[in-house]
Subunit: 351 residues, 4 copies
């Protein structure tokens, strides 16, 4: 235990914060040093500050741990996992980086900052190199690494092998997103029971701008956005966990469906080769049953860290269309951030 790296969870009481805590409870590399949230929670035991909503051991076994105020003064650890909202993240995450911590953030605040890696380890492990740029630029000893919007993360997992194999010219993505993505209390039941809401604030721009950054090329000093058109149409549906995405894609050279399938099946990116602890053995499951993947039945596979594709078929407009599914609060949030930290550790970015 003593050799594990101490970490802080910022925003530990929320929907994503709880998933951080649960995942870290038995992590081989990290141990929770500080559970932090707003000033209001500081000094309370985690079990008193937090309405635990996950199955498994309540409070990740940390119910009696006393919460700290979420500032560098009270909650500094070498590694910070941030489940903060955008507003607080904007202020606090740089403060922690300046104080020497490596911040792995789930917040939107710095995702599009040129010197911040928007990291999905299977997709763009080399973007971690931006940390050097960042440290040099700010004079920090720590740094900030973000994961992407949940919908964009799931999308880019399916796109990366196609982009590597063929090059992507355009992607149309219509999402049907779970309510957990809105946090707690989040979506009112009166709004979503038996309904579809064709709007999620800021979601479409995030997908449209984060996707080309994630698929972009690291030049050694910045990331060149991938030159592709992205159009997102985002919906909330009465599903608890997991985002379903209907994707049409235009690939260079119009490869066959078999070639597309083979690109997915052959994909064996770095986290799998490095056998990172939170990396799923197979990052993309290719379904063959005509009505799969289905979110309620498939989303918990591999503790939500893999994504699922299926219904691969020709698109009369863009060439190829398929169904896609991923776990928004695991792969798209807590699990993704922890995998980012595991990659950073493997690459020597954590002291």
């Amino acid at each position: 235990m003593s050799t594990k790296i101490p970490v802080t969870v910022l925003g530990a009481t929320g929907v994503v914060g709880q998933r951080f805590v649960r995942r870290l409870a038995n992590h081989p590399l990290f141990r929770v040093e500080h559970l932090a949230a707003s000033e209001r929670s500081a000094g309370k035991r985690y079990r008193d500050a937090c309405a635990w909503r996950l199955d498994g051991e309540p409070y990740g076994g940390l119910g009696d741990q006393v919460m700290a105020e979420g500032t560098p003064e009270f909650a500094l650890s070498p590694v910070i996992f941030s489940a903060l909202d955008t507003g607080p993240a904007k202020e606090l995450e740089p403060a922690f980086a300046r104080a020497g911590a490596m911040v792995f953030s789930n917040a939107a605040a710095f995702r599009m900052s040129p010197e911040v890696p928007l990291l999905v380890p299977e997709v763009n492990a080399d973007h971690l190199g931006l940390l050097e740029v960042q440290r040099h630029h700010h004079g920090w000893t720590g740094g900030i690494v973000t994961n992407a919007n949940c919908t964009a993360t799931v999308l880019v997992m399916a796109l990366a092998p196609l982009h590597q194999a063929f090059g992507i010219e355009a992607v149309m993505m219509t999402s049907m997103q779970a309510i957990s993505g809105a946090g707690y209390p989040g979506v009112a039941s009166l709004d979503i029971l038996g309904n579809v809401i064709p709007f999620i604030r800021n979601e479409e721009p995030k997908v449209e701008e984060e996707t080309p950054k994630m698929l972009g090329r690291f030049t050694g000093k910045d990331v060149e956005l991938a030159p592709m058109l992205v159009s997102a149409l985002c919906h909330r549906v009465p599903v608890i966990e997991g985002h379903t995405e209907a994707v049409s894609v235009k690939l260079k050279g119009n490869p066959s469906l078999d070639a597309v399938r083979d690109a997915w099946l052959a994909w064996r990116p770095e986290p799998q080769r490095l056998k990172l602890f939170s990396a799923p053995p197979v990052p993309i499951h290719v379904h063959t049953l005509e009505d799969r993947p289905q979110v309620r039945r498939d989303v918990e596979t591999d503790e939500g860290m893999s994504v699922h594709v299926g219904r691969l078929r020709p698109c009369p407009i863009l060439g190829v269309k398929f169904a896609l599914l991923g776990h928004n609060t695991e792969r798209g949030a807590a699990g993704g951030s922890i995998l980012n930290a595991e990659l950073a550790h493997a690459k020597g970015y954590l002291r």
Copy 2:
């Protein structure tokens, strides 16, 4: 009452059949002469043969009417509304047409037959002219008029004014469809509660082939398909009534969003000019609230006969995208067929 046109409802016990009966209960033009279904129901009272599932007056006030066997021998009326499945429709609808009846069908059997109008009165009223071709070709005194697949019907309502104003080159449509579209018992609750199913058998091909026919040009002897690319991605979601569609469209000349909105607002097609009984006063409602239309809140407007658009915005790939909503078992089924018959009456096709 005596001057109303007698009609038969085929498949009167099902989800769509019941909506036919309810709509016809107080119709100014038609009166129900025969309620027909399978042999098994013949001779039973409607209330005994039918598990009524709609609100309003049970059995449309016809609970005591004795059901007939659904063949021309036992259930011939001048007008037939058919809610049959494809298999029986294939055999029975031509038999009724041959016997002199005008069949207004909700079945898929003859939708793509070159001499059968695939009619949405707001969209292609002139396609009714195919009846002459049809009668000449088969030597029938009656005829068959079909309405389209429910998803395609809703789509084409929103597309028609754009096609007329600008011309459509390509349409990408992702649907989130209600369970009522699958009839009763239809979708198992174990399959759909808290889930999204990314597959509906035959739905995507129907949308992709029926849309260009509906938007096609009647030449006097056939319908030239509209030369547009259509791509459909169809999903079942836990919604009771109403299909939500996420649409991206490529229009000739790249008109502005304002021009698109104006085309919808200015649209005043024939059923509205003729003030047909089942025609909604405004066929397309253009929503301005950022999170509307929403299926549970908007779908019953105008007894489900109008469609709803909203969230008009630029699409980085095709130019324009918007949210669309319509009632699958009213505008897309029973109400649509009855409106077809009203148009045929106004145009002198019913004796």
Copy 3:
């Protein structure tokens, strides 16, 4: 129009307030003079202050009306409909009564006050007599009339004819309550989708104490509680509108099931005899189908003003059990209050 009684709706922007407004839009007796809510809304147009969530004409046609602050100084009318929360109701309702208004309240604040009628017109019309006691006691020219908790209101509608015919000794009631009962945003979707919550704060005590008051005897100066045992077990379920109740009841003399059914069928209480505008023609619908009433299918009957019973059968413990259903935000809230005002008008309590 000029002869209609001017009314104020307090709490006009909420779930119940909107139903008040919709019901009053075309009311033959009342017209909306003031729409009032918190200070924050005062001065705004109703359409800007209110996220309208009902079908039918948006904002009850009053979207452009400017809202008033909900105090006697700014929003006094002869009749006040209050959809306030308990806290503000405690202070504001007596202020309006003191200022001369008749307050018909949906709030819990004064339901159990000895001199306040807890009124369901079909059940205890004579309790209105408490107004004399109340005015005398406080020196008011106005007064306060409350309706009961929604669950208790539905229950007492089914119990009243049995209590009148036989006398009730004990009632066990297990509720399965709609989310609309919690207002908006109310129940978080993460809490209720695919779930049952076996707890609603304060709900069980309300049912247990309000039921004997409503069924109690007005002595001329107070209400003697009906001497019966009441036990309530309340649950939230994923239903939008309408409370389902499973009821077992012990009746004096152990009447037959037929006698119970006859008591319901024969019940013709005062609002129906007076033909009050909002009174349903038949207050209790007695279902005979073995699986009815069902909330989604039956709750909107009579605009939610009647209740539904079914599945009448022997209870091995208390004698009789049955299924019960009623509309929580209409009969149990807005519609109930308006019917109370109609009764008060018919009885000469409104000037």
Copy 4:
């Protein structure tokens, strides 16, 4: 492996059958010899005959096993787990017993037969003694052991320690039952989305007659029914897995709530003492949070083998009321039958 007892699963393709297979996949005592279903499935591989609907390894790893016809001629093993419907069970289960097999049945066919144990190991382990009576009576070398209706099983788990500690005089139970209890396809989604159905065929009589048998006293030659009144009010709600029950109970001597709680907490019945493989370490979880247990959050605890109580409070009519929750297709079906077999093995009833 060779020392494990070979078993047959009858009705292996259904909702409960699949759970049998999944539980048996890694069972220390049993191995699946035959997967059997209707004649129609015989000869097919399990993966082809079965639409697998559970998470975890598909087909329990037995996807390639060829299915047998479910008769003693083709599918005899020493132990039979039956997930048959009542009709086939009536004929086939005695045939297997006659052929020497011990049948552990989930079917209703023989539950109330005087010589058949209606077994819940925590509750009435000694009822297994009926097997001697049964074998003597029929001249069988095998035998039939049934588990109870799912709702009754969950109920009796909570009642048993109270009956042992105090004696039960009356139980009123209102259920809110999951759709999985109706099998697949089971409940139509059009019937249950956003709805409550106050009727489940035969469910109430089963609970009312099976409960006193399970809590009855084994005399050595038969079971004396426990002399208690039981009243059940059963509902279907839109929940996937798990039955919620609202229970009121009359106990002899009117013990305090603390005494009731202590009876649950102190309960340590035989399967827990024997540490049977499928027995949960704690059979009853006593919740203290005011809004728990909740089915979606708690039902999967201990793989669905424990039950949950909470909200213990006084009942004005019967003395004590509480919320109860259990897993209908695990504790109430597959898991229950397997635990029965484990008990029979521990007691020497399996050769």
